[in-house]
Subunit: 160 residues, 2 copies
DNA sequence: ATAAAGAGTACTAGAACAGTACTATTTCAT
DNA sequence: ATGAAATAGTACTGTTCTAGTACTCTTTAT
């Protein structure tokens, strides 16, 4: 079951906002709430989740706040989403992967859900937080059938 | 807002089941329900949706049934999912793409949701129904950080 | 000591999904 | 012609889960 809810979107907005500022700066939940136009309790809750997943560091007390645990280029969208939505439906199968699929064994998939999760996950692994905050170029190409296919290309030239 | 619910999964199972059989065969909702172990009313509802989206053809009356509207290689997962979940959150931006982004104009994205939708959509566009029914090879590679990254490679050698 | 910030828990209202039932319409076979 | 089997369409309902909110405790710098 794959899902990107409103809260996850908020979480991404928050992470982007933190990433946009200099790395040394601390960010309080209150400030982030104002900057992102989100209710404070919601922001608090999200930041806590992101903290527990190891994507943020926190400092308590006055002059406290949150900051990125790693550089933004090292944080993938898949990680952020997993932190907020729970493991991206790769629960059971990822267990098997470590044991079986490393050996290129054939996987008798009956659940399509797994394939799809992995395709999506693969795509999200490739996009990092830093890709999200820099302006991206949106191009539309036509496939062999003549349909418009939107393509997201990052400034660095990497293709998704 | 991206979501793959239970019903969408059922829909994919149904499409796979139809695609697995010879193209000439007709498939009644009743048969598919039995074969896929799903309740008949649910199957009916899903098939109707898929029909309206142009992914299936139908024939009424006794000896009626459903069939694929196109060959399975020409039906992408994105299409099936869009048929069952509604347009994959690419509502507004895809409109703009036709006009602006074709010209490689810079897109001042404030909603991350759009980027993500497009990344995911791009990934799902590449996988077809025929990819889904043939056995796939699941491999796990390690990235530069040492994390396991599951990768789905199709028998044809195409990479996702 | 105090004020400001994060940490943790619990509760509530609302929406959306999933499932079901019922009826009409079409078509082939007898 | 008639009946059976199939799709087509609509409406309803219960349950689950999300989103939002409130309150209290702990930590830390001034």
């Amino acid at each position: 079951m794959i899902r990107l809810g409103k809260l996850t979107d908020y979480g991404l907005v928050l992470m982007s906002q933190i990433a946009r500022r200099p790395a040394a700066e601390m960010h309080t939940a209150r400030d982030l709430a104002v900057e992102c136009h989100l209710p404070l309790p919601t922001v608090s809750k999200l930041l806590k989740k992101l903290l527990h997943s190891g994507l943020l560091t926190s400092h308590r007390g006055i002059k406290g706040g949150y900051n990125l645990a790693r550089e933004s280029q090292l944080i993938s969208l898949a990680e952020i989403i997993a932190a907020l939505e729970g493991p991206l439906a790769l629960t059971e199968c990822s267990m098997e992967i470590t044991g079986l699929c490393d050996l290129e064994s054939l996987c008798p998939i009956k659940d399509n859900q797994r394939i799809i999760s992995q395709v999506i996950r693969g795509a999200l692994e490739k996009v990092t937080l830093s890709d999200l905050i820099r302006p991206m170029r949106l191009t539309a190409i036509r496939d062999q059938k003549g349909n418009l296919v939107p393509t997201v290309s990052v400034a660095s030239g990497r293709m998704q």
